[in-house]
């Protein structure tokens, strides 16, 4: 059953023009941070969203929750059009849709105690107050691996991993159905990262949660996601079941991304694709396929028109002009 459906969602930002530029009529330059993205997340599923910094994956996560107001497109959550909701209804809907942020230092108010931070959603949604709220908060805190005796401490008294647990408790306390996990483990050390991932998976099973898990770390996504969407410059270039996409990537960008991941374990001669150059500026994205400037397989057509998304396997979709020839960058090295 589909829990979340995103149709043609875009988020554009206008770059500021100086007075002089406005007077001479310089056209507005627009950053298309998220451009016409469609995806679905089934109930109980983990959809992994991968891409490099600046590709728009965090903006997409926030636009889905309307933390950033989308420019166009539609988000449907459990049958309700979230994009059309007025403020009070949106607030009620937010009880069911939560977010965990990347930076466990910046996302907690340093002047509030843990009880206040974690208990705030209870007050906002009128779920509980006073002693009852404190009891619920304590219970959630213990569930995420902290102690009830730490309720009256401030964020600076905790380590990075513990702060991330506080952030998780805050997302969990209103008993949501869906959580956007925006790089929740990227700022943590390896051993702490594993603790948090294990916790998120336990909570998912226990409370029947659905995650949109945003990460640039393909190993993490490969470990915990059911399906994966690959994003490049504001657009989704490939989606599919995680095993299918990781073992049989069809888009040249996915292929090069996967081959760049350094792996622990016995060295095997894996094919290497080294991309040339950096991510183009989103202010001046390339015409046609946005990846053509770095793509080793690009042909003239790639610079002319954007490719259509096409099915390449069960539930596996890619947007590339060169899918027909079954070309792959991943020829094994000799």
């Amino acid at each position: 059953m589909t829990l979340l459906q995103v149709d043609g969602l875009s988020k554009h930002y206008e770059a500021r023009r100086s007075l002089a530029q406005r007077l001479v009529g310089t056209p507005r330059s627009v950053v298309r941070a998220v451009n016409d993205v469609s995806l679905t997340v089934a109930k109980g599923e983990v959809l992994g969203l991968i891409g490099e910094s600046g590709c728009g994956k965090s903006t997409l996560g926030r636009a889905i929750l309307r933390l950033h107001e989308p420019t166009s497109g539609r988000v449907t959550f459990d049958g309700t059009d979230v994009t059309a909701l007025a403020a009070p209804d949106l607030k009620a809907m937010r009880r069911r849709m939560q977010i965990i942020f990347q930076d466990p230092y910046a996302s907690l108010n340093p002047r509030r105690t843990v009880a206040e931070i974690v208990g705030l959603p209870l007050a906002l949604h009128g779920i509980a107050s006073g002693e009852e709220a404190r009891a619920i908060t304590a219970r959630v805190l213990e569930r995420v691996g902290l102690r009830a005796s730490q309720l009256d401490r401030y964020p600076h008294q905790f380590s990075g991993g513990q702060r991330q647990r506080i952030g998780i408790a805050r997302a969990l306390v209103s008993n949501p159905d869906f959580i956007v996990c925006d790089e929740p483990v990227s700022a943590l050390d390896v051993s702490i990262q594993a603790q948090i991932i294990a916790l998120l998976l336990e909570l998912k099973r226990e409370f029947g949660l659905t995650y949109l898990f945003i990460s640039h770390d393909i190993s993490v996504i490969g470990y915990l996601a059911d399906r994966v969407a690959v994003m490049y410059l504001g657009e989704i270039v490939e989606t599919g079941p995680v095993a299918e996409v990781l073992d049989n990537p069809r888009h040249p960008y996915t292929q090069s991304l996967l081959s760049a991941v350094p792996e622990v374990g016995p060295r095997r001669d894996k094919a290497r694709v080294r991309l040339q150059g950096d991510l183009p500026s989103p202010l001046k994205p390339p015409k046609g396929c946005k990846f053509h400037t770095r793509c080793p397989l690009a042909i003239p057509a790639c610079a002319e028109r954007p490719p259509e998304s096409r099915g390449v396997g069960p539930g596996h979709v890619a947007a590339c002009h060169r899918l027909d020839g079954n070309l792959s960058l991943l020829e094994p090295v000799r």
């Binding site: 640039h216 393909i218 470990y223 760049a260 792996e263 060295r267």
Partner: protein, 329 residues
């Protein structure tokens, strides 16, 4: 291979308000010429401080209190500040994790490259114009070497005009300008995306092979070590806990911490299986008792572990700081 850098029993301490922090506690290591040593550890393990100590860059309230640092036959701790300054940048170069703060925002990239060459390169001609041309040519060559397109034009630009990957390359270009014998790369790719990370690491390996330079790669990413380093040294709470050839340490770790780290890395092959994270967190370095520092998080800990544990041989070229290392095999 001859030894280029040999550090023995290094101690670096910081006088913090909370008390004395032994950030580096008896670290010994060797780097041979042309070799790539990986240094792995989590934040606070002392990996960066160890190599800042080697570079003579530890400032008050920190202090190197004990140990010897032999580089190319000389004990760096006996050198004066001027002598040390001559070695830094010319014989040993270090790149920092955050290129944006390590580069000077007020100087162009060309000026920053010229600074290093002016200070250290004795082969430059003395005539003013000839010298300027020589520095320019070398700068262009270095930027070309690290793969920056149209280097002549880029020399006149400031650090903020470059992307993250490009800045990291510029720092590497500056570090390599005087063809050092040893490059210390402190988390060179942590701030970078994987495709850019692969480009930068390949670049370092490539230049290492071409210039015959030794590299110390400080990182928290075991995958990076597995793919780029000959030997690896694992640090925990200010001490080396395990060292040896990379494939052996990663294939068959003989310290519970290394084993725990490897088991903590999520990867597609482990889907559906529970991760086995290391429980708890790194101990506070203030006032640590002389005992195994990992015992509070160690699944193999026993009452006997509450003593000072020395590094012990664990096979050819391998050492581990664990009382129970025989049982780990």
């Amino acid at each position: 291979m001859t030894v280029l850098l040999e550090v023995s029993n290094l101690h670096t301490e910081f006088h913090a308000r909370a008390g004395l922090v032994r950030a580096v506690d008896g670290v010994s290591l060797k780097v041979s010429r042309g070799e790539c040593l990986g240094v792995v550890g989590e934040s606070g393990s002392g990996k960066s401080v160890t190599f800042s100590s080697v570079m003579g860059l530890v400032r008050s309230p920190g202090q190197v209190t004990q140990g010897a640092i032999f580089f190319d036959g000389r004990n760096l701790r006996d050198l004066s500040r001027e002598e040390m300054r001559a070695i830094r940048g010319r014989d040993i170069a270090m790149t920092m994790q955050d290129a944006l703060t390590a580069l000077n925002p007020a100087l162009t990239v060309g000026e920053q490259l010229a600074e290093v060459l002016e200070a250290h390169d004795e082969t430059l001609p003395t005539g003013r114009t000839a010298r300027r041309t020589a520095i320019r040519d070398r700068s262009v060559e270095m930027l070309g070497l690290v793969g920056i397109p149209s280097p002549e034009a880029r020399l006149r630009q400031y650090p903020h005009e470059f992307s993250g990957g490009m800045r990291q390359r510029i720092m590497i270009a500056i570090a390599l300008a005087c063809r050092p014998k040893l490059l210390i790369a402190d988390e060179p790719t942590t701030a970078l995306d994987v495709t850019i990370q692969a480009q930068v690491l390949e670049l370092i390996s490539d230049i290492r092979a071409r210039l015959g330079m030794a590299v110390v790669l400080i990182t928290h990413d075991l995958g990076v070590v597995a793919e780029h380093c000959d030997r690896v040294m694992v640090m925990y709470a200010g001490q080396v806990v395990e060292e040896g050839p990379t494939d052996q340490v990663i294939g068959a770790p003989c310290h519970p911490y290394t084993r725990g780290l490897l088991a903590s890395i999520p990867r597609p092959a482990l889907r559906g299986q529970p991760l086995t994270p290391i429980m708890g967190q790194v101990p506070d370095l203030v006032g640590l008792p002389p005992q195994c520092r990992f015992h509070s998080r160690c699944p193999l800990a026993q009452p006997q572990c509450l003593v000072e544990v020395p590094m012990r041989d664990a096979g050819p070229g391998r050492r581990s700081r664990c009382l129970r290392l025989e049982e780990m095999a």
